[in-house]
Amino acid sequence: MKRILVVDDSAAIRKAIRRIIEPLGFTVDEAGDGQQALTYCAEWGSVDAILLDIDMPVMDGLTFLRQLRGLAGMPQPTVIMCTSHNTMNNIEEALALGANEYIMKPFDTDIISSKFQQLELM
């Protein structure tokens, strides 16, 4: 079963995403900020995909993404930004840093499953 890490400082958003993707057949883990996500990756090695918010305390999503993509010797997961930063500049910046896809909040089940299909996660 594929493993997805949901990184968002809002427990309500993490729960909403979990409710959408668990029934699609994924194992879901959670982290509340970029630092927790880095610790998770160091412990787990890697995951199949990360759903990543941008605005978070301690370490924001783009800083985490930059550090993640700089990690040598680790299989690189697919990263899907999931954020309310909804301008074209935001999207371009995230793609340039190595994000694979971008979800603008608010999202729904169709958007998440459509992105997962595009990326051949399901």
Binding site: T87, M88, I91, L95, E101, D108, I111, S114, Q118
Partner: protein, 289 residues
């Protein structure tokens, strides 16, 4: 709730005007599609809307109701497989001969609804290496609904719509963000010509096509209409052309004018050779009618 008699009336109207076959038990669909129309025309509910339609005095109301029932929600790059086939098999098979003859590759997006399919085809062609240029291809996009075509031509999509099927890389490359939504770039728009076309009526004015996308429409037609449409789509294909159908659609057992294309991709059909049709007991020559 829609009464059985109202449901029958709406089903027949839909079948007569657009060929769509609703079948049994789609009351929920009519309710959800028609309730906003009832509200728009200041009617208390769908039953009142049907009463007004039966009086036959308001053609605008009837048109709005039929459009609401027929407009399909579409997404960009729906199903991915037909677009992969277009990129990897169809364009390489057909474009060199068209280029050599200084002719355009002609693609028909039949029942294009609000434009996601023809714009997806255009974006795919623009991102091939080397790119297929607007002058080398003509994408004719048609729909039964004038309202859907207005939206398609405007090329303006909501934040929800641009996130369904459209890769973020293509969003930033081919769309402009405006206060009203995300607008498709002119460089994509100029690949596509939009026209009104009812699939039940003659395609004669459209000419012949190298590729026809007619996806997820025929599932709503009853068998005789399906056969007629399949036969006429076959006639609208060039001898080397390809017809791309939706995953749940097949001409098998309905029309003998189309056969599976010899390629690895599902849902792709070509004109049946005359010899194959003759061996099935069909008249020679009918194929090119």
């Amino acid at each position: 709730m829609t009464l059985p008699d109202d449901y029958r009336y709406l089903s027949e109207l839909l079948n007569r005007s657009s060929g769509l076959y609703l079948g049994e038990g789609k009351e929920y669909l009519l309710e959800s599609r028609l309730a906003p129309i009832a509200e728009q025309f200041d009617l208390p509910d769908v039953a009142a809307l049907v009463r007004r339609m039966r009086e036959g005095k308001d053609p605008l109301l009837a048109q709005a109701a039929v459009e609401a029932m027929t407009t399909q929600e579409t997404l960009f790059f729906r199903d991915t497989s037909p677009f992969k086939a277009l990129k990897e098999h169809i364009v390489p098979a057909l474009l060199p001969a068209r280029r050599a003859a200084h002719q355009k590759l002609r693609i028909w997006s039949a029942a294009c609804s609000t434009g996601q399919e023809p714009y997806s085809i255009a974006m795919l062609l623009a991102t091939l290496t080397p790119a297929v240029l607007p002058g080398e291809v003509e994408i004719v996009a048609t729909d039964y609904s004038p309202k859907a075509l207005v939206r398609a031509k405007a090329g303006l999509y909501s934040q929800f719509e641009v996130q369904r099927g459209l890769p973020a890389q293509l969003l930033v490359r081919f769309f402009q963000q405006t206060p009203a939504g995300f607008r498709i770039a002119d460089e994509v728009r100029k690949y596509v010509t939009f026209r009104e076309q009812n699939l039940l009526l003659s395609y004669g004015l459209l000419g012949s096509f190298d590729v026809i996308f007619c996806r997820n429409v025929l599932i709503y037609f009853d068998r005789p209409v399906k056969r007629d449409v399949f036969d006429r789509l076959a006639a609208a294909l060039t001898p080397t052309g390809f017809l791309l159908l939706g995953a749940a659609e097949t001409p098998y057992g309905v029309s003998d004018r189309l056969v599976r294309a010899a390629c690895q991709y599902p849902g792709i059909y070509v004109r049946a050779p005359a010899s194959a049709r003759a061996s099935l007991g069909m008249a020679e020559g009918a194929l090119v009618a």
